[in-house]
């Protein structure tokens, strides 16, 4: 018996129209993907492979041209998302921003306060909680981004390049957060270029190229075919 899915994508296609003459460009050419519950799933692929678009379609930020997306959780209330190179409201302080996100999930004032403070602690931004986001460094923005993705205690967490811009300490902290999410039975899907992090964290991976998933399997399966994950990745994407 297979484990229940947190996210199931079938035959997903996405065509966008660009330029003045509305030229059609097919970004996704039939993506099939299944993320099981409690997986830490790595979505890998070179730039332009369609990783971010896949995530955006899964979240409803883009509409699919064809195919299906099924969230295994009960709507977006149970999903957390960190966009790539996140940009937030720079006129808000870290605390105000997290409070705002919590309000969007309909959390009551009491829960909101506790949740915001504990998240600020978890991402190491307690000291900067009252500072406006315009004064945050790139690493601090990445951390507050992760905090906002977790503000609703989601079942499924989608992280687009979560390690980008972080210093080594920041990376360790994010890894710790992902591990703790896994321990608490949550499902995590993340895009990353940093294969060592993927190796360390992921239970399963999918490799995308030119709008298709060309390989899916566990990290162990990948390592069975090549000495390192980097070698395996290169082998698959250049095949």
């Amino acid at each position: 018996m297979t484990e229940p899915s947190a996210l199931q994508i079938g035959g997903l296609r996405k065509t966008v129209h660009v330029g003045f003459r509305r030229r059609a460009v097919e970004i996704l050419k039939g993506v099939d993907l299944r993320v099981a519950e409690n997986d830490v799933f790595g979505l890998l692929g070179p730039n332009g492979a369609g990783k971010t678009t896949t995530v955006k379609v899964a979240l409803g930020l883009m509409r699919p041209s064809a195919g299906t997306v099924e969230l295994g959780v009960d709507g977006l209330s149970h999903v957390g998302y960190l966009p790539e190179n996140p940009y937030f409201y720079d006129y808000l302080s870290g605390r105000e921003f997290l409070g705002f996100c919590a309000r969007l999930f309909g959390l009551d004032a009491g829960t909101r306060g506790d949740r915001v403070e504990s998240l600020l602690r978890d991402v190491g931004l307690e000291a900067a909680a009252g500072t406006h986001l315009r004064k945050y460094s790139k690493g601090m923005l990445q951390r507050i981004g992760i905090a906002q993705a977790l503000v609703n205690d989601p079942e499924l967490v989608l992280l687009d390049e979560p390690m980008t811009g972080l210093d080594p300490i920041g990376r360790v902290e994010v890894k710790r957060i992902i591990e703790s999410l896994h321990e608490r039975g949550k499902t995590v899907l993340f895009n990353s270029h940093i294969l060592s992090d993927v190796h360390e964290l992921c239970t399963r991976i999918a490799i995308m190229r030119e709008g298709r998933v060309i390989w899916t399997g566990s990290v162990d399966e990948a390592l069975a075919e090549a000495p390192t994950l980097e070698d395996f990745f290169m082998q698959v994407v250049t095949a």
């Binding site: 966009p83 996140p86 705002f100 309000r103």
Partner: protein
């Protein structure tokens, strides 16, 4: 509801903390004080001149705030990709548009209240004939600007912020000429032009139906029934335009 409130509060904070807004308001207050000078060369019509030109300043600067802030609101969220954060959460596009609009209503209320009370106190202190009608006129200007804001937000969901600002101003001007469009419908020479004029007449907001400033300077006696009807009409207009904006925005991908 909670989400609309959250977005509204956030929008209020965003706009009220904008330094450009402070600069515009300070400039408007300077212009209102400038009415003192105009009053001094008016051969004893100090109060009338201050009220009339003060209200023009309130309208003009209110319009600038309405058009330029409203045009940037939605566009900035898309441009800076903060929409990813919003719409990856269970926030509907309609809630977003409504929240943004309500937040801006709060900012506009603060701006106009500041200018209106300042004008009232200045007239009271200098000319001694301040009347509550001045504040009523500011309220009516506010209602007009709500319609301008809604229209500008609608245009900003379609295209660029600059285009939305320009179109917002165009709609304000067109709204002032609403009765001229109505006279076009009465020419009745050509059924197509007549029908087209009717469509345009219905689409553009009617800002020329009530002249609030004339009431303040004692020119016209305001018929309160007409004012209430007109306010109701403009608020209904706002609802329709925002619904259209939400509809357009629903189709948008990020």
């Amino acid at each position: 509801m909670n989400q609309i409130a959250a977005i509204a509060v956030n929008t209020f904070k965003e706009t009220i903390r904008d330094r450009v807004l402070a600069v515009i308001v300070v400039f408007a207050l300077i212009m209102i004080v400038g009415g003192l000078w105009l009053g001094s060369i008016s051969l004893g019509e100090q109060g009338r001149m201050m009220k009339d030109f003060g209200l023009v300043a309130v309208t003009f600067f209110g319009l600038i705030v309405a058009v330029f802030v409203a045009a940037g609101l939605v566009h900035k969220e898309v441009e800076k990709r903060t929409v990813f954060v919003l719409f990856s959460k269970p926030v509907s596009r309609a809630a977003f548009i409504t929240g943004k609009f309500i937040g801006l209503c709060g900012t506009m209320a603060a701006v106009l209240a500041g200018m209106g009370v300042f004008l009232f106190l200045l007239v009271w202190a200098v000319a001694g004939d301040a009347s509550g009608m001045t504040l009523v006129a500011v309220l009516m200007i506010y209602v007009q600007l709500l319609a301008v804001m809604a229209v500008t937000i609608f245009f900003s969901t379609l295209g660029s912020a600059i285009l939305a600002s320009v179109l917002g101003i165009c709609v304000y001007v067109a709204g002032q000429l609403s009765h001229n469009v109505l006279s076009l419908t009465r020419l009745g020479k050509n059924a197509v032009t007549e029908a087209l004029s009717w469509v345009v007449y219905v689409i553009i907001p009617n800002f020329s139906a009530v002249d609030v400033k004339a009431g303040v300077v004692g020119e016209d006696t305001l018929a309160w029934g007409q004012v209430a009807l007109w306010t109701g009409y403009l608020l209904a207009y706002v609802v329709v335009v925002l619904a259209l904006a939400a509809l357009v925005f629903r189709r948008k991908e990020f």
